[in-house]
């Protein structure tokens, strides 16, 4: 077989142009999500065949309105395209535009064209041209832009073959130095750049001067010349403004000749929908109804699949128990790992519904309207309308939510949003809530409402209220200088594409399950080791010590009771037992004993391991074959001081409140560190939230005791 040729393609374009739809159509499931070095921006890459002997590697660059970045995501575009040595530097860039707002899409096109990389302009949503009364003279446009132009519709899967043909055989080649930032803006200044930095194309040099801080890819000499130009910021900013105006003037002149809209055919659907959805009064009402529907949906639609998953995992654990030899290892497998992972998988239906909802709101364009109506309200709390997205996504998982805060342009607004988002009730809290509520809250109803359901709702509300209130306080105390400006596009309404929704949800859910699964697995194993080993003089000598004690007290015990005492003693003097005992004085006021203390310690890695930890601890201690299932084990646990149930109402509520407030998620802390670029904020967050959790749990225990 002959070696296939491979070409590298980059997809660029404005947000909401269907860039990702095109990516999905081209690659299908041949795509993977990775990371760019150093930052957590998703890097979407895929492969497809152009013809029998050419394959293509395609990378979906973050959507941007301009090559001049205004967020971390957007810097990827310039970094990828400016440096020929970049690992992702493409052979050809496909710029995806849409028919509605070709003018603004062409701004980014003209900038990328100036980088002297081969380009193709793909005009998407061409299926709607007739309906919208738009006509484009493609041949004339190609001549004006000196670029191949292809009409496509990613949704209707049309024009894709023409795009592939153009990729294989572009009609137009790259023209050297037709650079825009020339005499027409400021001849003396740009001639000076040319003279000082002769080895770089003029536009590249100009971008390096105005946009990039990291110049390590260039020679010392080049860096020096570039830095010389960076000094006069006022002049640079004025020139950038002039450049943009100049580009638009050119684009307008081109479109006048090639692009026609019959205004009488323009539909008013967007205007009509906007009148209602952004209405001063109805806008809020509709958003409220949608939110209610969302949370209803999360519980109602997920009930059946959740029951199914629960039973399946119980059956699996049962089967493993019956087929494997009895012993501590089997217990680890069934109670620690299978129960722990089951505890996460069971919430996958809810996570899917939440992600689906957020994805639909974004795909349809409704999310921008929510941002619009919520902006002033959120600003009272030191946040931005754009903070709605992280706070909503936070109900699924804080990690993607905190990453979504990147779109917030004000530094202070963004920081506050990042700091308070972990208060919203994420999916990882649900397994803890579920088991504790089932243990301590009676299953009765109250004026027709299920009390257990009411408690869960109250916990959601407490989490959300705390987020808002702490944002308000942070806004008053944080001294961060921030000049923020708020500009959002209000995209046209679209029906969401099923393919895009499915791919988004699949990716996000997979990432969540795998990350959580890894942590649970690791912690279960470490915990199991720490719980079954201990110092030799106590742990290793448990049988003798216990036997001596029994003799001393002169009590008569059956062999089973004696064994029980030995394993209890062993656990207490295992490494993990020693750790639990050490922190016991600190958590006693909250109503917890050292075994719950161990679960608290492990929960700082990830809250969802709470259930698995208790399961592991109780099973190491209790070899009784009749008691199965973590809930029964917790129910049977006795408080050795009072002789009553360990998980009574005061302790249960205190734990619920602790988990509502505490910062127990290492992955979130890691993301906060990366997003704020310092350890300071995650440490404050950890200390602040955990202190609050401690005090609130203490008061709860006191009140209900």
């Amino acid at each position: 077989m002959s070696e296939k040729k491979n070409i590298k393609i980059a997809l660029a374009g404005n947000p909401n142009t269907g860039k990702t739809s095109l990516f999905n159509v081209l690659t299908g499931l041949h795509q993977k999500v990775g990371n760019y070095p150093g930052i957590t921006v998703d890097k979407k890459q895929g492969t497809f065949d152009l013809n029998n002997n050419t394959t293509a590697t395609i990378i979906d660059l973050p959507g941007t309105y301009s090559i001049n970045p205004s967020s971390i995501d957007e810097t990827i575009v310039i970094k990828t395209l400016i440096n020929k040595n970049n690992i992702d530097f493409p052979d050809i860039v496909v710029i995806v535009a849409e028919i509605d707002n070709l003018k603004r899409n062409l701004l980014l096109f003209s900038q990328i064209k100036d980088l002297e990389i081969p380009t193709i302009l793909a005009i998407n949503m061409s299926d709607q041209m007739k309906r919208k009364g738009i006509s484009i003279d493609i041949e004339a446009l190609e001549k004006e832009l000196k670029t191949d132009v292809v009409l496509i519709s990613a949704r209707k899967n049309s024009g894709i073959e023409n795009l592939k043909k153009a990729l294989l055989n572009p009609k137009y080649k790259v023209l050297k130095s037709s650079s825009h930032c020339s005499e027409k803006i400021d001849a003396t200044f740009f001639n000076q750049i040319k003279k000082e930095i002769p080895n770089l194309p003029l536009y590249n040099a100009w971008l390096l001067i105005t946009q990039l801080e990291d110049l390590s890819a260039y020679t010392q000499e080049e860096q020096n010349s570039i830095n010389k130009f960076k000094i006069n910021k006022d002049q640079l900013s004025k020139l950038q403004h002039k450049e943009t105006i100049f580009r638009y003037a050119e684009i307008n002149a081109i479109l006048k000749k090639t692009y026609k809209v019959d205004k009488s055919k323009a539909t008013t659907l967007r205007a009509r929908l906007d009148r209602v959805l952004t209405h001063k009064f109805f806008g809020f009402i509709i958003f409220g109804i949608i939110l209610t529907f969302l949370f209803q949906g999360v519980y109602n639609f997920s009930a059946i699949p959740m029951d199914f998953i629960d039973t399946s995992f119980a059956n699996l654990a049962e089967w493993v128990k019956n087929t494997m030899p009895t012993g501590i290892f089997t217990d680890l497998l069934t109670d620690g790992i299978i129960a722990g992972i089951g505890g996460i998988i069971i919430f996958v239906p809810q996570i899917i519904i939440l992600f689906l909802f957020v994805a639909i709101m974004e795909e349809t364009g409704y999310m921008s309207r929510v941002v619009f109506i919520m902006d002033k309200v959120m600003r009272r709390f030191g946040m931005s309308g754009k903070s709605v997205v992280p706070l909503l996504s936070g109900t699924a998982c804080a990690i993607p939510a905190i990453m979504a805060a990147r779109n917030i342009s004000g530094i202070k607004e963004r920081l506050i949003t990042i700091l308070v988002t972990p208060f919203t009730t994420c999916a990882a809290r649900l397994p803890v809530y579920a088991i504790l509520i089932a243990l301590v809250i009676p299953e009765t109803s109250f004026y027709g409402f299920n009390i257990q359901g009411l408690v869960l709702m109250a916990l959601y509300l407490i989490g959300f209220t705390t987020a808002i209130v702490s944002a308000y306080i942070l806004n008053k105390i944080l001294k961060v200088k921030s000049k923020s400006y708020f500009i959002i596009e209000m995209p046209n309404y679209k029906l969401p594409s099923l393919r895009n929704l499915l791919i988004t949800i699949f990716d996000k859910t997979k990432a969540f399950v795998i990350d959580a699964g890894k942590i649970i697995l690791a912690i279960s194993i470490i915990l199991w080791f720490l719980a079954s080993n201990g110092p030799n003089n106590t742990h290793g000598n448990a049988e003798n010590i216990v036997a001596k004690e029994i003799k001393l007290n002169g009590i008569n015990l059956s062999q089973a009771q004696q064994d029980q005492k030995v394993s209890s003693y062993k656990l207490e003097h295992s490494y993990i037992g020693i750790m639990g005992k050490t922190i016991e004085p600190a958590i006693k006021p909250l109503g917890y004993d050292w075994k719950i203390g161990i679960a608290l310690i492990t929960s700082f890695a990830a809250r969802e391991v709470f259930v698995g930890t208790l399961a592991t601890i109780y099973s190491v201690e209790n070899n009784d074959e009749d008691v199965t299932g973590i809930k029964q084990r917790m129910q049977a646990e006795i408080n050795s001081e009072t002789g009553k149930k360990r998980f009574d109402l005061p302790t249960g509520l205190s734990l619920l409140i602790f988990y509502t407030f505490a910062m127990q998620c290492m992955s979130t802390l890691a993301i906060v560190k990366r997003e704020t670029n310092s350890w300071k904020w995650p440490i404050y967050q950890l200390a602040g939230m955990t202190t609050l959790a401690y005090i609130a749990a203490y008061l709860t225990h006191l009140i209900f005791l």
Binding site: R104, H241, D274, T278, S368, I487, P491
Partner: protein, 73 residues
């Protein structure tokens, strides 16, 4: 006093006058807010801020403080 976008009524249009370039974020220009272009106020959000405008074919929302900087006639 000079008129700015904040003086428009909902549904009213104006033409962007020359504004002082240094005060305006570049992003706003990139979104199409360019002197000489027509601007229409589409909607004002609850609590009177932000403003939803159509300018140069772009549908965008901006806050009152920025809108105040853009003179129109």
């Amino acid at each position: 006093m000079e008129k700015t976008i904040t003086d428009l009524h909902i549904g009213e249009k104006g033409i962007i006058a020359n504004f002082c370039l240094n005060n305006i974020p570049l992003k706003l220009l990139e979104m199409g807010c360019i002197p000489g272009k027509e601007v229409e106020l589409v909607q004002i959000a609850p609590l009177n801020d932000p403003l939803y405008i159509i300018v140069n074919g772009s549908h965008i929302a901006i806050r009152r403080d920025v809108a105040k900087l853009i003179n129109i006639y």
